[in-house]
């Protein structure tokens, strides 16, 4: 009974964790049609910047989270202008740039910090217990922030002028420009938001899980799965895809032993994509 309750709790927490990590990537993919394979590295950088502020400089954790988000968002503006803007429309070069950024960031952190296992001090201490369920407040906070950010991004995309301009750029970049939309400025804003979201995920999950120069690699795979399952053009679909992936990752390791759960999760995702290649809520588009 306790195992079942705990597994159900893990389903919700894992889903929130993956949704939080995927938001930035999904945002950039849906708004600018950019597959930012450097997202895992940016997520990792966000975690380390947060660690630097909290442990290195003694800042309050929430202040450090905000500062890390702003710094990584500014880095996103830099990336957009100097790394992605010159290669708009060139998919192959964009992928190469993403890989280069990821390798440079990982190697830099590996050299500067080493491979020492670290974790950001927990944002909220304590464990909430209700009957057979036990869940740390840290996980509850991660869940809450993930849900809040998903709602905020959905509102931003659908209800704000900037969000609508981003959608216009996603549909037709040249047409949007002809309509008077400052494409470069909106793209920079999108990158700032996407990278900022990655930083939030990196800080929160760097406290809950751990920090390592390679922490983004595994998460990037999960993020890709979520975005593919959700489909292009769907931010809301992230919620459903996150729940599916969270369920699989929380339940299968309990039912199965060993590394088989990983393989089965990937196999299920492949089957789902074979049934619906455009994802559950997206539409087909050429990149």
């Amino acid at each position: 009974m306790e195992l079942a309750v705990q597994t159900l709790t893990n389903v919700l927490i894992f889903s929130a964790m993956y949704i939080l990590a995927a938001l930035g990537f999904a945002f950039l993919f849906n708004m600018l049609r950019i597959l930012n394979f450097a997202h895992g590295a940016i997520y990792m950088i966000g975690g380390y910047v947060g660690y630097l502020f909290i442990v290195g400089m003694g800042f309050n954790q929430w202040v450090a989270l905000l500062l890390a988000t702003l710094i990584v968002a500014a880095f996103g503006v830099f990336l957009e202008k100097f790394c992605f803007r010159p290669f708009v429309g060139d998919f192959n070069r964009t992928i190469m740039i993403c890989i280069a950024i990821a390798v440079i960031l990982q190697t830099t952190v590996n050299i500067m910090v080493g491979t020492k296992m670290m974790a950001i001090p927990t944002f909220v201490e304590g464990v909430f217990r209700a009957g057979p369920a036990s869940i740390s407040y840290e996980r509850i906070v991660t869940f809450a922030i993930g849900a809040a950010l998903l709602g905020l991004i959905t509102w931003f995309v659908n209800r704000t002028k900037w969000g609508q301009q981003m959608q216009a750029i996603a549909q037709d970049r040249e047409g949007a420009s002809l309509q008077g939309i400052n494409v470069h400025r909106i793209s920079a804003l999108a990158f700032a938001l996407g990278c900022g979201l990655a930083a939030v995920a990196g800080c929160l999950l760097g406290a809950y899980l751990r920090l390592s120069p390679f922490m983004g690699d595994l998460m990037l795979i999960k993020v890709l799965i979520i975005v593919m399952l959700a489909g292009i053009g769907s931010i809301n679909g992230i919620l459903i895809a996150g729940l599916i992936l969270g369920s699989l990752n929380a339940v299968l390791p309990v039912l199965l032993s060993g590394a088989a759960s990983d393989a089965i999760i990937i196999a299920i995702v492949v089957v789902l994509l074979l049934i619906r290649p455009q994802g559950f809520f997206g539409y087909e588009v050429e990149i």
């Binding site: 705990q6 491979t115 390791p253 309990v254 060993g258």
Partner: protein, 407 residues
């Protein structure tokens, strides 16, 4: 006039004698000490990729051991001194990387002796070394086929392996938690479960413990180990949890998960990961009632060579919180055996190794054994091991346990 003649003759004789003596001295110089030569020893370590969390430190450690051996005079064979020249190749934490690195060592660098890689990675390099009769010493073994068995006659383990570390972990449980009788097991699913678990269960039973519940296998790479912690927690009969092998993310996160569930049973890992590292991941709430086989510099009972190597590593322990010395110990043992064999032919060294009963390790006297476990005589080693305790977030030195001979 007569006197002048005599003086002239005497002076001439003196000059001639001096010249002859000088000529004789220069023709027969005193024997100069023989020039030192170098002995290239390869090292396979994953300094990039997911396993670099361990091997990046191991690279620094094996270099420190090589420097220490060289500072102490190197390896002497028939009066000729050899300084170790370590050739490290990056395995990139992948089997393809290991194969490529092993090929480079053998065919490009021409080494005859290699230390590393650790654990199941050696299944990728062993065929290359065996084919070329390269003596290779691994720092760890997970008891999988191809790591160390009859197919690896030139393969050795230079450090306690997973079976030996299990024995060490079990003896540490006896010291710290004498009330524990039933143990549940968790282990990474790296392919070793079918081969290692029967040996571990037998070792536990010989020490008077009962294994309860199914063996909990988990992937090497997971973000969140909460499901694993939940499965362990569900084994209510267990008095303690034994996590075999495991890298820092596994150990810290499982311990954290258990404590979050309100489970305060002892958690013992047979991994060489320091309790400092486990505590850093488990957090203040989770870091308690745990044991690991971590090294503590300058702890009571440390052999002088162990402390000397720790000193050579400078601030690694303070900054990283861990010293492994699996590959470093392997290099130390290899140097001892080469010197005992008084030969640089890998086949001769191999035969000497197989004929020895004991060898000095960085951790004390090791017993060459493992015939039953690995099916090959004297290719494994059981040596004393230190352990650390993690109680209430504080790490302390626990003590030394003697593994003895591996079955």
């Amino acid at each position: 006039m007569e006197r002048k003649k005599i003086l002239t003759v005497a002076l001439s004789i003196c000059i001639v004698l001096s010249l002859v003596t000088l000529a004789f001295m220069t023709a027969c110089p005193s024997p100069a000490p023989p020039a030192e030569k170098t002995l290239k020893i390869g090292a396979l370590l994953s300094v990039s990729g997911w396993y670099s969390v361990i091997d990046a430190l191991e690279a620094a450690e094996v270099q420190a051991v090589a420097e220490y051996i060289n500072d102490e005079g190197g390896i002497t064979i028939d009066g000729q001194k050899y300084q170790i020249e370590l050739v490290i190749e990056d395995c990139k934490s992948t089997f393809e990387g290991i194969t490529a690195a092993a090929n480079r060592l053998v065919y490009d660098k021409g080494v005859k002796f290699v230390v590393g890689p650790t654990a199941f990675f050696s299944t990728a390099s062993s065929p290359i070394f065996e084919q070329n009769k390269i003596l290779h010493v691994s720092g760890y073994s997970t008891a999988q086929p191809g790591e160390l068995d009859t197919s690896t006659p030139y393969g050795f383990i230079g450090h306690n392996c997973s079976v030996a570390d299990c024995i060490a972990g079990i003896k540490a449980i006896k010291e710290e938690f004498p009330d524990v009788k039933k143990v549940a097991i968790a282990i990474p699913d790296d392919g070793s479960i079918p081969y290692l678990i029967p040996k571990v269960k037998r070792a536990l039973e010989l020490q008077g413990y009962t294994v309860v519940g199914d063996t909990i296998g988990h992937p090497n790479e997971m973000e969140d180990f909460s499901p694993i912690a939940a499965k362990l927690n569900a084994i209510e009969d267990a008095d303690a949890y034994l996590h075999i092998n495991g890298a820092p993310p596994h150990l810290g996160n499982v311990l954290k998960g258990l404590r979050e569930l309100g489970n305060n049973k002892p958690y013992i890992t047979t991994s060489l990961v320091s309790c400092h590292v486990i505590a850093a991941i488990a957090g203040t709430g989770g870091a308690t009632k745990a044991i690991s086989l971590g090294i503590t510099p300058h702890a009571p009972g440390n052999p002088p060579q162990l402390d000397a190597i720790c000193d050579k590593l400078g601030t690694q322990y303070e900054e990283q919180g861990v010293i492994y010395l699996m590959t470093g110990n392997s290099l130390w043992v290899l140097a001892q055996v080469i010197e005992a064999a008084q030969n640089l032919d890998p086949t001769v060294v191999k035969e000497k190794w197989e004929s020895m009963d004991t060898v000095e390790t960085l951790f004390g006297t090791g017993i060459l054994s493992g015939d039953e476990t690995y099916g090959i005589q004297n290719h494994a080693i059981g040596h004393p091991m230190p352990y650390q305790k993690l109680m209430g977030g504080e790490v302390s030195f626990g003590g030394w346990v003697d593994v003895g001979a591996i079955p």
